[in-house]
Amino acid sequence: MTAPYETPAHATLAAEVARVVESVSGVAFLRPGLTDRLRSVVSRPGVAPAGVRMTRPDGDGPWQVEIHVVVLRRARTVDVARGVRDTVERHLDTLAPARSAPQVTVKVTGLV
């Protein structure tokens, strides 16, 4: 999940998505965890933050977003996953309202 991005703007968008995902209630951190999270804070241009992959196969078409996330055990897992999906969809929509809805996949890779 550290695919190079086509443009710095692209990478910035992924970092932005990572930030909103981590603010979702019940999210512990994005996979693969603390070390990578610290690295992603440094935010090297062109490198995806850990746990977020954004692609646009059809050039200008809808975003395909895949999120890998570790969730707190005390929360209901599916609710957190839905929260992540809804948050990402909303966020991308506010950035570019005209676009067709993004396709968001959420994978829970750990419970803590």
Partner: protein, 210 residues
């Protein structure tokens, strides 16, 4: 095992065995010593006694070496080693495949190993139960993939528990955890009791898990 450093032409002890003046092979005398064979010859023969004395002396030095090893081992902190091992293990995880969370079309997933761990923990809330293999298989019958999964869980049960009742309680806990904690749609929960644990032990375990 191809890189033998032993001389290939002496596959048995005979190659460097020694005939004692009393007519016995050294290897036999030592073997009898090791087996603590009750043989009058061993006690009376000076040659055998001398040979055994050599081993006794070696033994006393060996005990000294063991003590040194024990002292070193007792002082050894395995924590850093464990951490190093687990750091590498965590780079080589086997999460299994993604299984659907919520409704089939939602595109929300949980990794198999993560779900299995939660379901095992749920099974172990039943006193005395220990969970082993927890497989999550595609549900929906023959080749059907309707987004549901079937759970196959192996447990160790307390020996004195009525098994059908126990299995029902475990099934209930697993079902509830899948629904309330994870939010997975489970088509069936199949419990297999693979071992019975003596009750005293089960009590201890219960104390530990409470």
């Amino acid at each position: 095992m191809t890189d033998r450093t032993d001389p290939p032409n002496t596959p048995s002890a005979q190659g460097d065995d020694e005939l004692l003046p009393c007519g016995r092979l050294l290897s036999r005398t030592w073997d009898d010593w090791e087996q603590q064979t009750d043989d009058p010859h061993l006690r009376s023969c000076p040659h055998c006694r001398q040979a055994v004395h050599g081993l006794d002396d070696l033994e006393s030095v060996v005990r000294g070496l063991q003590q040194e090893t024990d002292t070193t081992a007792a002082a050894y902190d395995t924590e850093p080693l464990t951490r190093r091992i687990m750091d590498v293990v965590r780079l080589e995880l086997r999460p299994g495949r993604p299984l659907p969370l919520g409704e089939p079309a939602e595109d929300l997933w949980i990794m198999e190993a993560v779900a299995a761990r939660a379901l095992r923990a749920a099974a172990e809330t039943v006193p005395g139960v220990r969970a082993g293999s927890c497989r999550l298989l595609d549900g929906g019958g023959d080749g059907g993939d309707d987004g549901t999964v079937e759970v196959r869980l192996d447990i160790h049960a307390p020996a004195d528990a009525p098994l059908p009742e126990l299995a029902a309680r475990v099934r209930e806990q697993v079902w509830e955890a899948a629904d309330r904690e994870l939010g997975m749609v489970i088509a069936a929960v199949d419990i297999r009791v693979t071992d019975l644990v003596p009750t005293s032990m089960a009590d201890d375990q219960e104390g530990g898990s409470a």
